[in-house]
Symmetry: C2
């Protein structure tokens, strides 16, 4: 909407786009303040700015990726993050020079380089795409390096300090969930 120069938007239109109910959307927004104009709706630019501020994506967020296998490599070449304010600035792997079936422009380092680069570039977030057996060790390593947010693709529950946020993406569970619902 911002790109298309649309000036204002109603909670109804936003809710439809997001797949939720208008009241839900309004209630949620007001947890962060009052941004709308009664009788008119929300100013698109203001709202976008406010959301970026709240999420912390106003400036480009640097992110690292750990585990350059199948999935990791795919995410490295995925160009959908920049638009949302994220940039994968470095990748790490136990075997950084292993031959890979695709080129990419993001440098791949050994695990021993984690601490220095995270500190130098003041990085807070890591994407974990390592095999399940290596995931806890990798998580410990990124936490030790100073990472406080982990997006974990390994299919297990990671142990991490309270101060570290772990979000899990588990593709097998998503399929199992679907499988349950497609049964007649």
């Amino acid at each position: 909407m911002k790109a298309n120069g649309i000036p204002t938007v109603s909670s109804e239109a936003l809710a439809k786009a997001a797949g939720v109910k208008p009241t839900q959307l309004r209630k949620d927004l007001t947890y962060f303040g009052q941004f709308g104009t009664r009788g008119l709706g929300y100013n698109v630019n203001e709202l976008a700015q406010m959301i970026s501020d709240v999420l912390g994506t106003t400036s480009l967020q640097p992110v690292i990726l750990v585990g350059v296998g199948n999935l990791g490599l795919a995410l490295l070449s995925y160009r959908g993050f920049e638009k949302e304010g994220f940039e994968i600035v470095a990748a790490f792997d136990a075997d950084p020079s292993r031959k890979r079936e695709r080129n990419n422009t993001i440098p791949i380092y050994g695990m021993d380089a984690l601490g220095a680069i995270v500190k130098e570039k003041n990085i807070r977030m890591a994407i974990l795409t390592v095999p399940a057996a290596a995931a806890q060790e990798a998580a410990n390593a990124v936490v030790a390096a100073g990472i406080t947010g982990i997006l974990n693709f390994a299919p297990l529950a990671l142990d991490a300090p309270e101060a570290v946020t772990v979000n899990n993406v588990n593709l097998a569970i998503e399929l199992e969930n679907l499988s349950y619902f497609v049964q007649r």
Copy 2:
């Protein structure tokens, strides 16, 4: 545990592995029946069988993938689904013969082949890894072909009939969520 021949397991051990509280796990299991033995715990084999039955993964579930780009190709070569009872049996793309940077053993068809293959192999689930702009059209196509479960990776809310289950995986949103929590 089944692979390791462990005969029984307590709700406490299971809960720890799953990252939830023991009461939660017990309450959830009882929605499907009573499977435990008081004073002893759950029989690992029985429980695994019950879960497979409930999820509908007792026999290998065929799945199709639509959109063989970056992410789609990575998922095609991801060998983590078989273990959980899923098999990607066919892939579809608007340009099936487009040159791709990796070989894979799963056949790639044009979108016009959807209906016949879904019907022939009695497929219920589809993974959607197409660009956002093409997602709704692709969703319509798979629904028309008879699919009733969609795992959608495109960053938008799909319109689909009531009888079709849509699960969304949105990597940008996962990162935004993390971003919010890593702010000091």
